[in-house]
C-alpha cells in the first residue's frame, strides 16, 4: 500500500461523519453532506487511480466532477421551493 492508497482510505473514513449528517440532519444538511461526499469521492478516485498506476481510470473523476456540479444544482434548485 503506497501513500496514495493510504490517503484514499483515510479520505473514505471522512465520509462517515458526512453519512451521519446525511441520515440525522435536516434535508438541507443532507444536501451539504452530499456535496461534501461527492467532492471526497472525486479525490478518492484520483488517489486510487494514481496509487494503482491506472492511467485509464483518471477519466472517472473528471466525469464525476462534472456530474457533481450538475446534480448539486438540480438538488438545490428543486429543494429551494418545490420539495
Amino acid at each position: 500500500m503506497n501513500a496514495f492508497v493510504a490517503a484514499a482510505v483515510a479520505m473514505l473514513v471522512a465520509i462517515v461523519p458526512c453519512g451521519f449528517l446525511l441520515v440525522r440532519g435536516t434535508i438541507m444538511d443532507a444536501v451539504v453532506a452530499y456535496e461534501a461526499i461527492t467532492a471526497i469521492a472525486v479525490m478518492v478516485l484520483i488517489l486510487l487511480a494514481e496509487g494503482f498506476r491506472r492511467s485509464g481510470e483518471f477519466e472517472l473523476p473528471v466525469l464525476l466532477a462534472v456530474l457533481m456540479f450538475g446534480s448539486g444544482l438540480v438538488f438545490v434548485r428543486l429543494l429551494e421551493r418545490w420539495l
Binding site: C18, A39, I40, M43, E80
Partner: protein, 115 residues
C-alpha cells in the same frame, strides 16, 4: 527520496484538512455554518492533491486529467455553495433578498427607519 517525503507531507495535509472539515460539518449548529466547511474541502484539499500528483508524476496525461477534475471542483465549488445558501434562505423566508421576510410578515420597521 525528498520527492517522496514531500508527496507524503502534502497528502497528509490534504487528508487532515478533509477529516477536519467533515468533523466541522458534523459539529456545527445550523446549515449556514456547515456550508462554510465545504470550502476547505472543495478548494484547498483538491489543490494539495493536485500538487502531490504533479510532484509524483510530473507533467503527464494523468496529472493533466487530475488537474482538469480538480480545477473543475475548485471553480464550481463556490457556485454550488452560493446556490445552497440561497436555497436555504428561500426555504426559510420565501425570498433570498434581505427584508423580504419583514415585508412578508408586515413589519415595516421602526419609524426612525423612514426618511
Amino acid at each position: 527520496m525528498i520527492r517522496n517525503v514531500f508527496v507524503d507531507v502534502i497528502l497528509a495535509a490534504a487528508v487532515a484538512l478533509v477529516l477536519a472539515s467533515t468533523v466541522g460539518l458534523l459539529a456545527m449548529r445550523d446549515t449556514y455554518q456547515r456550508v462554510h466547511y465545504l470550502t476547505p474541502l472543495a478548494l484547498v484539499a483538491p489543490l494539495l492533491l493536485g500538487l502531490a500528483i504533479l510532484v509524483q508524476s510530473g507533467s503527464t496525461v494523468s496529472s493533466s486529467l487530475t488537474w482538469l477534475a480538480l480545477v473543475f471542483i475548485v471553480i464550481t465549488g463556490p457556485f454550488l455553495s452560493h446556490a445552497t445558501i440561497r436555497a436555504i434562505r428561500i426555504r426559510e423566508t420565501g425570498d433570498w433578498r434581505l427584508g423580504a421576510d419583514a415585508e412578508a410578515t408586515g413589519d415595516a420597521g421602526s419609524p426612525g427607519d423612514q426618511p
